[in-house]
Symmetry: C2
Subunit: 336 residues, 2 copies
């Protein structure tokens, strides 16, 4: 089992990526790690920071895609980037999975064009695994496809269900459609049609959900078009950040509140971890032929090690074959 | 200045509504209050609870719209409801503003059909005033129009800007479009066109915003279609509820955490108030000829008094005339 890691993805690359790969050696026994990126820069960073990276094979890639690059760069002006090369190596079976903390748009576009879609899948989705106090859920699509057709939402529901069952071990995952109310007829034409399709997809579709109930853990898979999914993910992140920031401010207010902070520090840190985006290995590019995962741009070593583990679990699970089979069966049903 | 109050709106009606009206007498000097609803039930509730409501005129209305009624009931099977009667009385100039804690859909539909639209406005919007630690912002549309055209988003931006300036005293309100990124070209065709229109609307349009930045107080007016707006409002509410709930749980954990809770109780209550939906008087139905405000279904007396004050301020502001003038000027520009 070999996971290929983009050495130049994220704000803290390559240092935090290298640290994460080293951490993975002890945290994830049995998972081999390789790096892709500029060899000279990688070795220089390792040397300067006293890191032993001798056990990692390095695949060379000359350029780096930044957060400011257009996603299209992955195929054109920076087709020799660490993301492009990593995805090419993956598609040619030099690794079992690829992970990056870099430019999401480039990872999604590159996965679609270089690794290519699973047969029958209209559009790959970007699916972050998100936290609630009741456990994680998959949001699909979290932003890859701003405009979608109802059939795509159905495919998202199926892919999300397979992933949560195969990789996270959720039995019969509860799938819902993000909507403006819980009644069956809510939303616009896209939601109406998607609701009908999801009902007849052989998954545990519970119907519509209001966004209000998502943070309480109402479902294991939340299906949405990429525009709505992006709003859900970012509002969740923004609200949690704002609230934790304000609570921190409250504790620093005076001596009395500082004492309270000391008394409750441990529990608050635990609570913050519940809502930590990095715990579940980030986001999955679902719908392409090999496992591609993306972790947060600000990922630290712990998050990098977590995404390596998640990628290996995805590769071991056989989920991609299951998705292909389910989509082909659905196609068979439709053709009848 | 007379504010007409729906005595049968909300989960705690009529008791909390009556208490709120009495509270308003002391909190909001100079604002007269009248009630609309079943006179017998109102008097019975007042008597049972020892409330003096002798200073409120009661306009009779026989039926009540519940949260389970379809919005259409306001015009048909329950056209003698407190919402229908209240809106009719408002439209016939028996009051300066109408407030309800009842069925949002019925209030919006009733406002549009009974009070009627401001000349030139395509669709009225439901615009909640929402909290951030940096101050309130208006979300427009928060859910009235699931499907919109770009011109409607432009009108929402103009109406929101006028409201925040005229009633909340925000100078040159910062208006943004909710989108999946901050760059000008983000989103789908709706956002692209709306972006161009908002740029040339004579308002302080700052461009696109990511949902992540909304809870930090990035804008005074957040423009969105009703589907997206509903997701924003409900995710904010859901995330805040979940987090405060979990924090409460942490404090009840053991003796040590309970002591911390005692030490910091005051500050946490203050923080919770920052995020309290009821502080700013709820949501405004913007785009109809007279002021209609809706407060939360779970509104208590304090929230009822706050929405009465907000409604009176709206009525005094002349904002509806300003909106009509701006929309007509825009129309004039377009016709040139």
């Amino acid at each position: 089992m070999l996971v290929l890691v983009d050495a130049f993805g994220g704000d803290k690359a390559p240092l935090e990526v290298l640290k994460g790969c080293i951490l993975s050696l002890s945290e994830n026994p049995g998972i081999d790690v390789a790096l892709v990126g500029n060899e000279e820069k990688i070795n220089k960073c390792a040397k300067e920071n006293g890191l032993d990276i001798s056990s990692f094979k390095i695949f060379p890639a000359q350029s780096e895609i930044t957060m400011n690059d257009e996603p299209g760069a992955v195929l054109k002006e920076k087709k020799d980037s660490s993301i492009s090369e990593g995805l090419r190596l993956l598609s040619e079976d030099n690794a079992d999975a690829f992970v990056s903390a870099g430019n999401s748009g480039a990872v999604i576009l590159g996965s679609t064009m270089i690794v290519k879609r699973i047969k029958g899948i209209s559009r790959p989705a970007f699916a972050p695994i998100m936290p609630t106090a009741a456990g994680p859920f998959m949001l699909i699509d979290g932003g890859a496809n701003v405009e979608v057709r109802p059939e795509m939402l159905r495919q998202f529901g199926i892919m999300g269900s397979v992933y949560m069952e195969s990789i996270l071990g959720v039995k019969n995952p509860r799938v819902v459609l993000a909507n403006v109310g819980t009644e069956d007829h809510k939303g616009g034409p896209l939601q109406h049609k998607a609701f009908e399709l999801l009902k007849t997809s052989g998954i545990n579709f519970l119907g519509n959900t209001e966004a209000r109930d998502i943070p309480a853990g109402v479902a294991d898979v939340v299906v949405a078009d990429g525009f709505t999914g992006n709003i859900i993910a970012k509002m969740y992140e923004g609200a949690a950040k704002e609230l934790f920031g304000k609570i921190k401010g409250v504790f620093y207010k005076n001596l009395r509140t500082k004492i309270a902070a000391l008394l409750i520090k441990k529990e608050l840190m635990e609570l913050k971890q519940y809502f930590d985006y990095n715990r579940y290995g980030g986001a999955v590019v679902l719908g392409v032929r090999k496992p591609v995962l993306k972790t947060h741009g600000s990922a630290n070593a712990v998050a990098v090690s977590a995404v390596i583990r998640a990628a290996a679990e995805f590769a071991q699970s056989g989920a991609i074959d299951i998705i292909e089979k389910k989509i082909s069966e659905l196609k068979g049903e439709e053709d009848k």
